[in-house]
Symmetry: C2
Subunit: 98 residues, 2 copies
Amino acid sequence: MIQHTVAFSLHHRSGSKEEQAFLSQARLLRSLPGVMDFKVLRQVSSKNSFAFGLSMMFSSQHSYDAYNTHPDHLRFVETIWLPQVAEFMEIDYVEELG
Amino acid sequence: MIQHTVAFSLHHRSGSKEEQAFLSQARLLRSLPGVMDFKVLRQVSSKNSFAFGLSMMFSSQHSYDAYNTHPDHLRFVETIWLPQVAEFMEIDYVEELG
């Protein structure tokens, strides 16, 4: 299992309609093949400047790669993510060690 | 529920005894009051330079604060974490939005 996470902030004002519209679009990613346990999260640590997070699970690297290259994902990244996201960091974890 | 995560890299060589010793010490944090679902994770995204992650859940901000200020946690940070960790980022998430 691979947990794919991305912490991010938007160009939009907090609480704005544009922010909600972005999150609604992001939620559509949950229906892509291989995506499990999809979550839209609020980031609350004061030790970084990210406002939100997405988290999802993949059963294998193959599933993760298929998601990354899926046309709906590529379209989301190009037309919604890149224009509206101010900063982001992807962090992926695999299962517990030892 | 609050998910507290910290992605990090060590000064130690990958696979070294020192690395394993650090992770063993980190695992002791799971027994501190309020800590739930504690995990030591390997970070696998090529889009950042962190090698590991810790993830734990707290039922409330009060529990999280109590962990942060617990003498065993403070001692861990001072005597083990700070001398051995090369870089880290804390990211905390609360439950799913909308």
